[in-house]
């Protein structure tokens, strides 16, 4: 039978892996992929709760999150391209102009 706990635990695990990707990796594109992992983990939790409560709201929210993720990926990758033009690197440690 359907077991919501399993989905929520899996969602937490994938979310933590995404957070670690953002925190521990230095490549800008890998960091973007970590953000996608985190967004997907939250989507999975939304879908699980939507099924558990039997309401459509969770699934509609997932649609909005997917649209925002698409916008985020497009703008983020454009920033990475602009960064690469300027600095010939995508390593976020080399981008420290605003760091004091």
């Amino acid at each position: 039978m359907l077991n919501v706990q399993g989905y929520l635990v899996l969602s937490a695990a994938i979310f933590v892996i995404g957070v670690m990707t953002v925190l521990l990796r230095r490549g800008a594109i890998t960091i973007l992929m970590g953000i996608e992992l985190m967004l997907n983990a939250t989507n999975l939790a939304f879908a699980a709760f939507s099924r558990q409560r039997g309401s459509a709201e969770g699934q509609i929210f997932v649609l909005f999150v997917v649209a925002i993720a698409a916008a985020e990926a497009a703008v983020g990758l454009a920033i990475v391209i602009a960064l690469f033009r300027l600095r010939e690197t995508t390593d976020v440690d080399d981008v420290n102009l605003m760091k004091w």
Binding site: G27, I29, A47, F64
Partner: protein, 162 residues
């Protein structure tokens, strides 16, 4: 059967996410991220969300990942530094991550979740679409505006001369 599918797909999803975290080559990472996204699409099917599964494959595994792979290959990024941290930082990071998951598991497991029974058309395109175009019509239109602004922003940012 359902439990078996869930266990296999969940294992593949976690392992592929770990590869994204650990592998030095971003192309391999992107391909394993596609694996992870397809696994989540299968889980959506198990959760009676057929429309979301289709959207997941089309938008995420299709559009967004093609965009990411396109940029990786455009910039010809070969290898990057893997995890860039000292051994103490690595140890405490893993400890904090495991602790966070343990905390969430501790919070989730004692609750007995009562799963509602749903209509047979739950999660189909018609079911979602009717709600989306009536109750959630204005947010839906706002999303189109957000996508338009994001598109214009991406074009301007990636232009040769800012």
């Amino acid at each position: 059967m359902e439990v078996l599918v869930f266990m296999v797909v969940a294992t593949v999803a976690v392992v592929s996410a770990m590869v994204v975290l650990l592998h030095k080559n971003p192309v391999i990472g992107a391909l394993f991220l596609v694996t992870n996204l397809v696994c989540i699409a299968v889980l959506y099917l198990l959760l009676d969300a057929q429309f979301l599964a289709a959207i997941q494959v089309i938008v995420y595994a299709g559009a967004i990942m093609v965009l990411i792979l396109f940029v990786i290959m455009l910039l010809s990024l070969k290898r990057e530094e893997g995890i860039h941290a000292g051994s103490a930082q690595r140890f405490f990071g893993a400890l904090a991550a495991t602790g966070f998951v343990a905390l969430i598991v501790r919070g989730i497991l004692p609750i007995s979740w009562r799963v509602a029974s749903v209509r047979s058309d739950f999660g189909t395109a018609e079911f979602i679409g009717r709600r989306l175009f009536s109750q959630y019509f204005y947010p839906f239109e706002m999303i189109s505006l957000v996508l338009l602004v994001a598109m214009a922003g991406a074009v301007v940012l990636a232009k040769k001369k800012l």
